[in-house]
Symmetry: C2
Subunit: 339 residues, 2 copies
DNA sequence: TTCAGCGATGGAATCGTTACCAGAATCTAA
DNA sequence: TTAGATTCTGGTAACGATTCCATCGCTGAA
């Protein structure tokens, strides 16, 4: 045989009309038993498989969901993607993966391409919330959208939001209780909810303790390891030197730890550290690092769940994922500033 | 406006025939300048975008590539996927991501679904090389295939193959030189090239040193952390106890290190360790672990490159990725068996 | 016996695009 | 001026499926 088998071939073999074959195969009720067996036998014999492309063109639904993130090699996103793809697959949807490489332009192009591919929905972690492109691009999507940890006004999108503030506040309060005052805070870009919400928790802890927020120790800029490294180097040269670091984003945290290594500072002894988010093998190779944990699998399956809900015709919703602070050796000791 | 703008709307607005619009927009040479401007203006004004679905149905090419792996949350695959997606995107292709969750059945279903989606090609890391399903499924793909680190006969597929043997051999020779004899080897399933090729390197090192291979210390079974843990526990109870471990697969290695923790064995002091593959933050939190490294980005972009070549009409090819052994503290010391 | 009613089936239009074919319009050469 | 070549354009048939509509045959009631 050559070329895929079409419904036309099945019709010819069964000696019936195209439309009858379609009715049988799509489970239409008004078909006689004899017709059903005839068609099913022919389809079986020829190894017929429906062409999803043609079905999509006709039906208007592609049963594909776009997944746009900065970078799938970020372990957090990878776990989110896995859980999300699994859940979507169970419901008959496929996932089209696109990295935006931290570029708003690439992200915008990705949205445009997904629109032309007529995806049924998009799940995205935007590079920035305030870029003018993106909002226009998204509004023209004509498909449901689920945002991951982003807060963009006027979009009618669902969202999976992490409650960073609670975890970060607990972590910061813990550090304050341990006597730390010069606590440095490093996280990603300021124009995303993730960072703002973490700062919220950080600030609240200081406010509740009645201690002034060390604003000059808050360093923002990006999620890459180089930012973490540069910021940490810079902060470690300040006087008084920060005695504790709260570092967010896996990349940034890596940068911070590198800076510690450069300065021969031992974590948990010379300097305290709380990592925001955990990463693969965290429990094996970073056993002593205090962390604010969120469950990435839950984020992924919730995202899938939310988009499926909208596709069923329900309203856009928001899900909140909890965070949990766990104190470990890295934040127990540490040289505490003397005032 | 309601519903997407079609080529028909553009034709109506420009006052020309459908076919002329198509010709202009697809860059056909036989169009007059006036026609070109008329159509382009109308398309611009209406915000026309071609429907990739319809184009695909017509042309037979979807410009999508399927990507099937065991688990995207494995950091190695995540980096491969990112590099691969980037390269494909630059060439106008999108990537459909599917996890096979370590199940041959799921993998087979994924292949079938990709076939029905009429993808132009598939890049896959098979769960097993010898499963009867898979070969049948793959042969009916009707699209080029790139295998990642797998060796399946009679497929006419391209492949990106890692030369594990060289790196593992160097690592093993190093351990033998350090005086180790009871060297345990833990890696994934035996029915994939990755494991076989690693064992090849392991064996060759012993052979060249004229030392008998400790076959009872070779433990295979799977790539998950639980396998690593179970096997390592078991091996650590043997007499004489292995003094060094070569552990492959990020998950397995994690299991092995957990077993060390359970037994309060300090890496590089009580027991030597060489990790096959590195993982995120390896350089930060596993600075002292000897490793056999391969570049996952190269694997991803090579995979994309190979499939693009076949899509251009060239023959299927095989690319080989090098490995590099780096000795670090974890394999320097260690209690050496006395014979 | 005849007609209404009903279930099952075939034919044709449609989704949005491209590509072939024929014909119109313009141009060149004799 | 006309035949022939050369552009360019419009109509139409696909790609592979679904769905509406009309029709056909059959049954049951008057």
């Amino acid at each position: 045989m050559e070329g895929p088998v079409t419904i036309r071939d099945v019709a010819a073999r069964a000696g019936v009309a195209l439309s009858s074959v379609s009715r049988v195969l799509s489970g239409h009720p008004d078909v006689s038993a004899s017709m059903r067996t005839k068609v099913e036998e022919a389809a079986q014999a020829l190894g017929y498989e429906p062409d999803l492309l043609a079905q999509s063109l006709r039906s208007g639904a592609t049963r594909t969901i776009g997944f746009i993130i900065r970078d799938i090699s970020n372990p957090l996103f990878a776990v989110v993607a896995r859980a999300c793809e699994q859940e979507l697959r169970r419901n008959g949807y496929s996932l089209i993966l696109m990295n935006s490489d931290g570029s708003v332009e690439t992200e915008s192009k990705n949205f445009a391409l997904l629109r032309r591919r007529r995806v049924d929905g998009v799940i995205a972690s935007l590079v920035a919330e305030d870029s003018p492109y993106v909002k226009k691009t998204i509004l023209s999507l004509r498909a449901p959208l689920v945002l991951l940890d982003r807060d963009v006004k006027g979009l009618d999108a669902s969202a999976v939001i992490t409650d960073h503030a609670t975890g970060v506040k607990a972590a910061t309060t813990h550090l304050l209780d341990m006597g730390h005052r010069d606590i440095a805070f490093i996280s990603g870009a300021a124009n995303v909810y993730t960072t703002r919400n973490r700062i919220k928790g950080f600030s609240e802890a200081f406010a509740e303790a009645g201690i002034p927020l060390p604003e000059q120790l808050i360093a923002l800029g990006g999620f890459d390891a180089e930012y973490g490294l540069i910021h940490a180097r810079h902060l470690l040269l300040k006087t008084p030197r920060p005695t504790a670091f709260v570092a967010g984003g896996i990349g940034s945290t890596a940068g911070v730890v590198r800076a510690f290594h450069e300065m021969k500072l031992e974590i948990g002894k010379d300097v305290a550290l709380v990592a925001l988010d955990e990463w693969p093998l965290f429990d094996v190779f970073a056993t002593d690092i205090s962390s604010v944990y969120r469950d990435p699998e839950a984020i992924g399956s919730e995202a899938a769940h939310l988009i499926l809900e909208v596709l069923k015709g329900n309203e856009a919703q928001e899900s909140v994922i909890a965070t949990k602070f766990t104190a470990r050796a890295s934040s127990q000791g540490g040289v505490v500033s003397v005032r």
